[in-house]
């Protein structure tokens, strides 16, 4: 405590400060791919903690199963069995439609569609910064996950894989400025781009559908889904519902606010889709 204020920084301290500033500049100038790899290497230090929380989560789930009343489990089992049978019947019907679709496509000469292959991932963390929307899931390269794979829930599209580590991946969510999706309005086929919400960017479940035509026939309540153009997202994944519209650029284009189908604030598990 006896040192005066003037003594606080000495020559070695200045050298260290210059080195830190240089390090930061180098890191900020790294190409995206390299920076992603460095990030994954650094965040790999957290793997034991992520593993530990995963184990605790699993154990708590097993604990719940142990203490759950037998009557409740039997009832749930019965409900699931019925739902499973209903889904099997629906699947048989869909398979018929699917093969008919493939046959007609072949007759017209259009390229065939492949079925979605999905894998369930658990959300293990969210972006600690308040100005981005992303999360971490417990699927990585060893599970066959690759960059740009779409991520969804049963309700609709969630985002896409931004970077992939060996055992976990980072998902950038809809509404993040980095993520734009080509979308189509289900009923009238009008197309636009899903972007982060300009009026309420911090609203988890709201995005904008930009670049609709000026005299658009789009109305609130209509469903929006992926268009399939752009090579990342396949067509027909539900995105959300139109809430309201406003005119932009002196009426040349229209912007619609879309309420996302998936509840972004309550994501616990997501599906990663392999094309």
């Amino acid at each position: 405590m006896g040192r005066g204020r003037g003594e606080i920084l000495k020559k070695p301290h200045y050298i260290v400060l210059v080195l830190v500033v240089l390090l930061v500049i180098v890191l900020l100038k790294l190409p995206n791919e390299t920076a992603g790899k460095v990030k994954l290497a650094i965040s790999g230090l957290f793997l034991p903690l992520f593993g530990l929380t995963g184990s605790v989560h699993q154990m708590s789930g097993e604990g719940k199963e142990t203490v759950a009343a037998k009557g409740v489990l039997v009832r749930q089992n019965e409900e699931l069995r019925r739902e499973n049978e209903a889904l099997k019947i629906r699947l048989q019907q869909d398979e018929g439609v699917w093969s008919e679709n493939a046959r007609l496509r072949a007759l017209v000469g259009w390229p065939g569609q492949s079925s979605w292959r999905v894998r369930l991932g658990r959300v293990i963390g969210r972006d600690p910064a308040n100005w981005w929307r992303s999360l971490q899931i417990d699927l990585g390269a060893r599970d066959g996950v690759k960059t740009n794979y779409p991520v969804l829930t049963a309700e609709g599209l969630v985002g896409r894989i931004q970077s992939v580590g060996q055992t976990r991946s980072q998902v950038v969510l809809l509404g993040n400025p980095d993520l734009r999706v080509a979308a189509v309005v289900q009923t009238n086929g009008e197309t636009g781009i899903i972007n982060c919400s300009s009026s309420s960017p911090q609203e988890n479940n709201m995005v904008d559908l930009d670049y609709l035509s000026g005299g658009t026939g789009v109305r609130p309540g209509q469903m929006v889904e992926t268009w399939g153009q752009g090579g990342v997202f396949p067509a027909h994944i539900p995105i959300g519902t139109i809430v309201d519209l406003r005119s932009k650029e002196y009426g040349l284009t229209t912007e619609a606010r879309v309420k996302l189908a998936a509840d972004m604030g309550a994501l616990q598990e997501v599906w990663v889709m392999a094309p």
Partner: protein
């Protein structure tokens, strides 16, 4: 003890970053995540030397950015600036008064996101900013302020547990010892 103290600060920074990623409670209730690193930098600045401050800022910033969509390294300089500024004025700053620590932590927690946003906007990144950002900034400021005295109390407890305590003064004085005997 110094190296142990530095390691402890780094360990707490590590767990703080993980906690911010893993814990959803603040997000669900307050709509924002509280950042504990500025408060930790205040502690490091007031009680530790230059190298511990630099190490905490670099490691804490990189750990934070690695789990975030932030460009890597963007959080380091604001944290370092907070630590060094507190360190520079440490003889003038009260560290035993909870109110003063709250103010210091709140100021650091208010300045850190602003500085990060300033850098982000200057390197061409487009963070999500709106009116709700003001609320988030307020919560981060108050939350960081509240965490600072807690942080000091935790470290004080740690010191009590692991530091050598000063030997208690006894009434015995060698020069006043009565020597019995024939001589």
């Amino acid at each position: 003890m110094n190296w142990l103290h530095s390691i402890l600060i780094l360990a707490i920074a590590f767990f703080a970053v993980f906690f911010e990623t893993w814990f959803d409670g603040f997000r669900n209730v307050l709509g924002t995540q509280i950042d504990f690193l500025p408060a930790l930098m205040v502690y490091a600045g007031l009680t530790n030397g230059f190298y511990t401050i630099v190490l905490t800022a670099v490691c804490g910033g990189l750990w934070f950015d690695s789990l975030s969509t932030n460009p890597l390294g963007v959080s380091v300089l604001p944290l370092l600036a907070i630590g060094l500024m507190v360190h520079r004025g440490r003889e003038l700053l009260a560290r035993d008064h909870a109110g003063a620590l709250f103010c210091l932590g709140a100021a650091a927690s208010a300045a850190q996101p602003l500085a990060v946003l300033f850098i982000l906007l200057n390197i061409g990144a487009v963070p999500l900013l709106g009116w709700k950002s003001l609320w988030q900034w307020l919560v981060m400021t108050v939350g960081g302020g509240l965490f600072t005295p807690v942080c000091f109390a935790l470290f004080r407890r740690f010191h009590r547990a692991f530091d050598y305590q000063p030997a208690p003064q006894t009434s015995f004085r060698a020069d006043r010892e009565i020597k019995r005997g024939r001589g």
